[in-house]
């Protein structure tokens, strides 16, 4: 049995804080969208605005951190083993095969995760932030550049929100695909992943 640190302290803080913010943004956002009543419309708007700003602030700090620590490389998509990874999730996992990759600090995401998380970070988040800022500050037609009111920004923002919900659902499910059901979620909390020593050695040989 060996313990590998795959998440730094900041990464864990970042992940769980972001989870809390995304949860709050989602719950308040869909109330603002008119889907249900939960906190009260005004409270939802106010919490949505403030959590958006915290989200942006956390994002800025995280980008800074990812760059100086070079942990951003985790999110660079790769096609290496992509097919194998898909095959693993679509068939190997049912045959009790072991995971293809061993997680380390700088290589903790499999090729599929890299694509999905990378897409989230460079497409969905920026679009949400940009349309959110338009939503907040730039939606009246008397602005120098007319953005056609809220419609375009609002629809894009809503689509992004739906994608986020889908992501969260799949993301939570995927945490159960580790060695044990709780392996992944445990490592996201403790920062460590416990591996069979033999596997690591095996992995290193490859």
């Amino acid at each position: 049995m060996r313990k590998t640190r795959i998440f730094t302290r900041f990464e864990r803080f970042w992940h769980w804080t972001q989870m809390a913010l995304v949860l709050l943004l989602t719950l308040t956002g869909f109330e603002i969208h008119g889907n249900y009543e939960m906190f009260g419309y005004e409270n939802s708007v106010r919490m949505h605005n403030s959590s958006a700003w915290t989200f942006i602030g956390l994002g800025v700090i995280s980008i800074f951190y990812m760059i100086i620590s070079r942990l951003y490389k985790n999110f660079i998509p790769t096609r290496n083993n992509l097919k194998e990874q898909i095959l693993y999730y679509t068939s190997g996992i049912f045959k009790n095969e072991t995971h293809l990759t061993t997680k380390t600090l700088y290589n903790k995401l499999n090729p599929l995760q890299r694509i999905v998380y990378g897409g989230l970070l460079i497409i969905v988040f920026p679009v949400q932030i940009l349309t959110g800022l338009i939503y907040l500050y730039y939606h009246y037609p008397q602005n120098p550049v007319d953005v056609a009111g809220l419609r375009i920004a609002a629809v894009a923002h809503t689509l992004g929100a739906f994608l986020m919900v889908a992501f969260i659902l799949v993301h939570i499910y995927m945490t159960t695909t580790g060695e044990k059901i709780t392996t992944n979620i445990r490592s996201m909390i403790t920062g460590f992943e416990e591996n069979q020593e033999s596997e690591i050695i095996e992995d290193k040989k490859q």
Partner: protein, 580 residues
């Protein structure tokens, strides 16, 4: 111990400070974060010590810190600054600066009110010049209307949606003119002594213009108990800034009765509570009309768009409250596109009913004895009058909402009817208009006589002193009343008449409710068809609007994900059982 561990690690791990090269996804044992420390640590005791320390750190990082961030985010979000109370001064309660009773000229024996005016003007010279250019005197003014150009319009020559038109019914309508005796076209608008100073400046509440008197007060010949001859000395010696009694005596009763026209201006405001009107409530600031309708040299600020057209000389809430009165950015930003009135006047006609519908086509019915009929609704408002037709009164009315940029058009005598309902006035504005805001309006609907051949609205002679003078209110005969009205106004009539639906829009400004009763977010930001802005569809309103395609595809993606998750999980469970 921790420190020692690090030192130990530092010594035993090669290339401690070498960062992994770019694009190297190989597992690395060393970095500034020292991930390899535990891997290299063979000392069981030390390892356990690390584990022991790591637990509170983990708790702190993944639970305490996120919750702290979340807590402060929510707290900051929900924080609302207090609204700063506004300083104000009321003008109407200021006593006159001089004691008019001591002026010898006001102690003379007045017989004709024109002599009072002359006495006023002998000291207050040139005030007549100011007054005689004001619309209170002229009942018309030049206006540049988009799409129409310059026209001279006002109460004098416009149609309204109530008693239809003033000119030709002077005896009755011109009672509310600030002059003496505008009984017909011969009235001299250039004679300063025709000005009625007292109706606005009387502080005794005893000065009244008599009904049907074309602006004159009662004389010895026609005085009644309700309208006695004024005590001119008493009145003239007690003059001052107009208070709400002076304004209200005309502006509360326009259209032939209390609150017929405005809906937000009525006799309840003579003395009211802040619950009805936060500004005028005697238990509140107790403001008079002129405290907002600031007046300089007899130019009274404020416009009623039943007769006004231009976005000038208006009173606005912002005059006192500024454009960021809530001390809260979320609410204050609404002011770009919402008039304050929209949220702060949630209902109008809060005390007495106002006329919502007036159908002239039903007028003229008589009972079996040939007498005019009067019927009342459950609230004892008129529901039918032979001389006026059918009414619908309502109180506690939810306003309608319109885009409005402060300019308006009007249906003029020479205009041709092209659509129904005829728009007696048109409020300009749309979402894309930078000057336009959403305003609460009273929409008054009606049916008026019109010329089905020439497609004009008709001028009707309604009022006369007695029968046999072609007045509808006396004879109940449309043909002769229309002929007389059209002749007086020198307009062409085909000889035929019918009735057509009409609409007029009154932006609401008064009877502002206390803040507890303002609209809340979901009064507008709702998908409900009962939402206040359900009919204003030229813009995207969060909470009300959504793109069907986006929402459906979004829900589709979520459902697909769920199906995928459930299917995948099921197959894993099956595989797990089989492999057992």
């Amino acid at each position: 111990m921790i420190f020692q561990a690090s030192v130990l690690d530092f010594e035993t791990t090669p290339n401690q400070d070498r960062l992994p090269p770019f694009n190297n996804f190989e597992p690395s044992d060393s970095s500034i974060f020292n991930p390899g420390i535990y891997r290299e640590c063979k000392n069981r005791n030390l390892f356990e010590m690390k584990n022991f320390i790591e637990k509170p750190v983990t708790l702190f990082l993944v639970l305490v810190m996120p919750l702290v961030v979340l807590y402060f985010t929510i707290r900051t979000g929900l924080h609302k600054d207090e609204v700063k109370p506004l300083e104000y001064a009321t003008r109407a309660t200021i006593p006159a600066k001089v004691d008019h009773a001591q002026f010898a000229i006001l102690q003379q024996e007045f017989v004709n009110p024109r002599d009072v005016t002359a006495a006023c003007l002998s000291c207050h010279n040139q005030r007549d010049d100011e007054l005689m250019v004001s619309s209170h005197w002229t009942w018309e003014r030049e206006a540049d209307i988009p799409g129409r150009g310059k026209v001279t319009i006002g109460k004098k020559n416009l149609h309204n949606n109530f008693c239809t038109a003033a000119e030709g019914n002077n005896g009755s309508c011109m009672r509310c003119h600030i002059g003496y005796g505008w009984a017909d076209k011969s009235f001299d608008f250039n004679d300063p002594n025709n000005i009625d100073c007292l109706v606005c400046h009387d502080k005794t509440d005893t000065y009244k213009k008599i009904k049907g008197g074309a602006g004159w007060p009662a004389t010895a010949e026609n005085a009644t108990k309700e309208f006695p001859v004024p005590d001119y000395n008493f009145v003239a010696q007690n003059v001052g800034f107009p208070d709400r009694d002076n304004c209200g005596v005309c502006h509360f009763y326009g259209g032939g009765g209390n609150n017929v026209k405005h809906g937000d201006l009525e006799e309840a405001l003579f003395s009211t509570t802040r619950n009805i009107d936060v500004h005028m409530g005697t238990d509140g600031p107790n403001m008079a009309c002129v405290d907002c309708h600031k007046t300089e040299r007899h130019n009274i600020k404020g416009r009623a768009y039943s007769v006004s057209s231009e976005n000038t000389n208006r009173v606005s809430c912002e005059n006192c409250h500024g454009d960021a009165p809530h001390n809260d950015i979320v609410l204050d930003r609404h002011n770009h596109k919402l008039a304050c009135q929209t949220c702060h006047i949630p209902v109008y006609a809060k005390v007495n009913g106002t006329v919502m519908y007036w159908d002239w086509s039903k007028a003229g019915r008589r009972d079996d004895n040939g007498n005019p009929i009067t019927e009342y609704d459950a609230d004892h408002n008129y529901s039918y009058l032979s001389i006026k037709g059918k009414f619908v009164y309502d109180n506690m009315v939810k306003p309608d909402y319109k885009w409005f940029n402060g300019t308006a058009d009007h249906f003029l005598n020479e205009d041709t009817i092209s659509s129904e309902p005829v728009q007696i006035n048109t409020l300009f504005g749309s979402y894309s208009d930078p000057d336009a805001k959403i305003w609460p309006v009273k929409i008054h609907r009606g049916k008026q006589p019109y010329d089905p051949v020439l497609k004009h609205l008709l001028s009707v002679k309604l009022y006369a002193k007695g029968k046999g003078e072609d007045a509808f209110w006396e004879d109940l005969d449309w043909d002769s009343a229309i002929r007389a009205g059209m002749e007086y106004n020198e307009r062409e009539w085909s000889g035929e008449y019918d009735f057509i639906s009409t609409e007029v829009y009154w932006p609401l400004n008064h009877m502002v409710s206390p803040k507890e009763e303002t609209l809340t977010c979901t009064d507008c930001h709702t998908r409900s068809e009962k939402g206040r802005l359900a009919s204003l569809r030229d813009f995207y309103l969060p909470g009300r609007d959504y793109a069907r395609a986006a929402d459906y595809s979004g829900i589709g993606i979520i459902l697909l994900s769920l199906v995928g998750i459930i299917g995948h999980a099921a197959m894993r469970i099956i595989a797990f059982i089989r492999n057992k």
